[in-house]
Symmetry: D3
Subunit: 269 residues, 6 copies
């Protein structure tokens, strides 16, 4: 995007944003978490994932990105020092407020980019669905999450992927190599079936059979996964991270391109 | 269950429930919706689905069921007369209150049975996760939904299944035949890709590729699906409904049996 | 009502409801509770009362009924297993959401039928009054409760009537005979004056002198009424239940007839 | 009460209150409203009623009174200038906060004195019941209201009493004669049956038959009672006010005396 | 103000207020607290301060005053008997409701007069700012507080002034002499630097250097200021109170006069 | 701080934080805003201020910093594109959640560093005061703001400083030079007295006389300050920014050093 000095809204003046809005109306809002990611991953891993995806897709697609939200919905990690979790209703409130403000002055297509695989989804869905139904019928609101966007590339991983797994470690390793303690990668994984039933959704980036959800809390998690990692991360690598990242960026850019030309019914409000 | 006169808690006296709790601690809470299901399906379809699953599994497994909640989170159907939707935060509050009361006098394993494929999941996840983390560490809370439980049987359907689709119509047709207007089944389906992008999750009971969610509201839905149905229901039949139902009941009973013998860490709080 | 296949909204399709709304605009919303009613009454007693009143009045008057809400505001019963109580604010929220949705597509006269004598009134009054003042001036909202509607028939009872008393037991006995444990009726009653002062409102369906309310909680109630019943129910009978029921249904039908012809100022908004 | 310089808590120092709590534990909390009371009554009428009752009963019984809350729940009067109404949920919150603080340092018997006949009851009941159940089992909470306390004296009035009626005007006339515009008393009354159905509760201080509540809003009320009064106040007099007031004060003192000796189960928490 | 019988809204009829609004649109809303003010000051001190300021300025300027709110935001005083504190969110809700009602029928310039130096400011700012931004752009809302209004007269005091200090004691002594226990004045003051750091804001009515706020709670305060007073009040006198009071009244009247002629942009909404 | 690889918590693993907590218990939480700062300042200016202060003080003092919150309470800027404001209650909720999580695993001294001069104070005070009173008596919570911390250095500025003024522009210019559009500095300033009365607080970093607050909204602000700046920024310079920054960092480090040795009563809970 030649026109703007930065894709990051916080680095621009309001006049820069006003300029952008004369011809464009797309913006991304990255939402992460600050939660433990095992001995090898940084507490900000999910936030870095959202930031990296939004930033690189924005550079390619020429759209703006808001400042990131570094805090997500992570109650089950609260017994590991450093985890900072918003209550679900707080995250709903933040997402609603951010999107309302963006919509107020002319953003019409707002893409929430979640870096926190799955776990923020309840809050973000609540916020986005409610806003579009009751307050912002004239705004198209989308929600992106690696757990759903990366299905086509997940085959590159070698291990079952759950929390602090091979691909999410690889992702940050590729983009922010100094943040991964590669000496702390692990080949252990937590067998979840005895804990959460044979109906557990065991591989967040893979296939699963019939599933039933059992909720666990942070004290229980500290018990069954004492070092914080659920997954074998020993096969993680920056190279895998690069493939995984570039795949998602490409998909996200495809989506933005589709959105730019969109003339369908959603958000015509 | 010889001992009790009914699996339905509302038909019993408090002394009956006290008796039950002397030896058992499992209960199911069925949650549905009152929302349009096209010209052929009754407004209560999702509630009937939850009631039927809970009732038949309870009879087989010998556990109690609370009265159903007939109202779910259905904002996108509000432009069809008869739809009654709770706000997401209201549904969270109801689910929390119900589970708190059950836990108070000794239910230790509480299974929320959602009949409303997917759409209630944000609220129910919010309620269950938050309760188990912050208030009820000593209670195991599970969440069942046909969208996740019926993966192993979904292959019997012939059409892409979205709202008011082949299997959910079949389900109610099997259990409550007088509630299906079989003369109003349709072979139309709404092509969602032009509306919701190529990244749409098109088959709620089937495979999907990389997906990104775009939220739509009730006015838009009335526009793109004016009769309320999204899906080809012409291949629906009570026979398919029976297979679908019995598969899920069997899985749910398997889960309850597993739960009964459970000695794992969750809910030891 | 020849035209409709059922007075229950949940059994109809949205097109059926749309048809109804072309010529009618009245609907009833039954609200009960799931709370202990002594050794003889089912936990769902209040819900059954609301359902029976709404259903029979609807059949006679030819109006629609929404699915019932099985949960009410019953904190003082929480120490009896099986009681499921919503917080007052949750009940307010549910009632508001239900009425908003009904109003949205054209119901203009909405009758909340409370089966839970008195105790739900704070929440339902809060919801109805607030909605009509601030959101739905063009909708007439009414609230029916046996405690106020049955004054003219209360003389048929022989005992002081408080919780789990002669008439409410009789009511369900008449309509749902299998739900009453007639072998568990009691001739005991709890003398409330020493507990709640001489200013207690002792007979919910009878006269009272100057009253002052003292609030009691579930632990205290378990102490002073250990089997859950406050009242002598030994004179209950299906015959009394029939008179009581038919009286209220007749009054409710009279009210609906009056409402149908109403041209007064309320709800002209 | 020789010991204290004032029955009004706000006039005392904290050390005075600490002294009081060494031997006593009863306090009254007066709640009124600021709402129109027709051309003859002051906007603060309900607050003056609560203040007068609490003050005179406190002087006689030797107990403390908190500062009054001048604002109640009066949405239906909002179209008359000068009315200031709290939302129901705000009034609940205020009442809870006040009672919590009183309980914190040792008040064990807290009497809420409502001067706003009936209309504040939903909020005050919600606050008191919820506090005693969930937070303050060791505090006895009572609720006094002229509509229920004055039944035994209501026979002295000559007219049907509804808003701005004979006895409530008389009450303030007796205690605060300069606040009544006696030149503006009216012999008109609003016939409520055509407006609110034959099931209306027409006489707030008298008998009523079978009733059903229809909620009205402030715009409607401005239409059917344009000067704000519902009732014939022409027979009001300071003499009637004195009888009415003294009767209620006597009853309230009786209640406080009963409470002082109370050893029953409530509030033993 | 010749025209009106009282500056206190609660003493007037709604017709009086309607008259006032034909030519005027200014009103004051006094907000105080009920919190301990040491051995010499009454619990209602802040409320009396707000009442006195509003009343005397209203008499001089000829404007109306609403009934006072006797309860403020005083959590740090809760361990002293008699303190009654609203939660911050409750105070926000009350202030919003009061201002909304005033605005509804034509008050266009609403002055909140806070008597509770500083401590209510968070809640009152939240309420006023939010209302003017989101709901009442056509109403000018102002906030007055002695801590900011009395800078020009603070030099008359001789001691460092913090809670229960020289000038606030003097203020009430001047206006309500019977409410001050002059035998209990103290020459002690609490040295806050060792407790709250050298960056403490030590003199609420005086100069301060670079400050950082450390929050303290009621248990800690009971520890470091066991008699409730923070400040040397031995130099308090009715004469100082008169100067302090008259200065603020004069400033407030100047402000009202300015407001009356105001044609600027705020509140033109 | 030799021991840790970063002062930023999000860059560390949970084990790093656990190590830190073995010997330390201080953490800073930077809170900014995303709001217009005139033609020369970036939208993230307040966030950059908070980040810079926290980061440099943390490096010097050897303490940890949480990820920043980029969104504050900025309703009056909402009519300038790019402004993203949380509702006050949302900011309260976020601050409470963050501080609760930090406290949960052992941070005992939590310093909120506000970069948004004054405007976030209502929310942050509400959160911190309420937490310390009701939930976290054993945690010391402090609040830092340039408006109060920089009094001793404010004399270096040459102009009256209000929004987008000389020193805040200088601050970011010093730390993040590429973010200031120095070609857009202005010598204009908005004379606030005619708009907000002679009682306006005109210089946020300077002396003021007797003040009364009038709240303005975003539409009004767009009118009286159309380019977003209130202040003459023409004298801004990186050199002034350096002095201003270093002064505050020095003070903050002094405070942290004091806190480290603190043995006083606050937070002993």
């Amino acid at each position: 995007m030649a026109r703007l000095r930065s894709i990051w809204l916080q680095e621009l003046t309001w006049e820069d944003v006003a300029d952008y809005l004369r011809t464009d109306d797309i913006v991304m809002f990255p939402v992460g978490s600050t939660e433990q990611h095992g001995p090898a991953g940084p507490l900000g891993l999910d936030s870095y994932a959202a930031i990296a995806l939004a930033e690189d897709a924005a550079e390619k697609a020429g759209v703006l990105v808001t400042p990131p939200l570094w805090f997500g919905d992570s109650p089950h990690h609260l017994d590991f020092p450093g985890t900072i979790s918003l209550r679900t209703e707080t995250l709903v409130a933040v997402a609603k407020d951010v999107i309302r403000c963006l919509a107020r002055k002319g953003f019409k297509k707002i893409i929430t980019v979640n870096g926190h695989k799955g776990t923020n989804i309840a809050a973000l869905t609540t916020a986005c669905r409610s806003l579009h139904q009751y307050e912002l019928p004239a705004v198209l609101i989308a929600l992106v999450d690696p757990m759903y966007l990366a299905k086509g590339i997940a085959h590159i991983k070698e291990a079952v992927e759950h929390h602090a797994g091979e691909l999410e470690i690889s992702h940050v390793w590729h983009k922010y190599p100094h943040l991964i303690r590669s000496d702390k990668l692990t080949s252990e994984h937590v067998g979840l079936e005895p804990i959460l039933s044979p109906f557990v959704h065991r591989d967040l980036l893979g296939k699963s059979g019939d599933t039933i959800e059992i909720f666990w809390n942070s004290a229980e998690q500290k018990g069954f996964a004492p070092d914080g990692s659920f997954s074998n991360s020993s096969k993680a690598s920056p190279e895998k991270g690069q493939k995984y990242h570039e795949y998602m960026v490409e998909k996200l850019v495809e989506f933005i391109d589709w959105l730019r030309k969109y003339e369908g019914p959603i958000g015509r409000g």
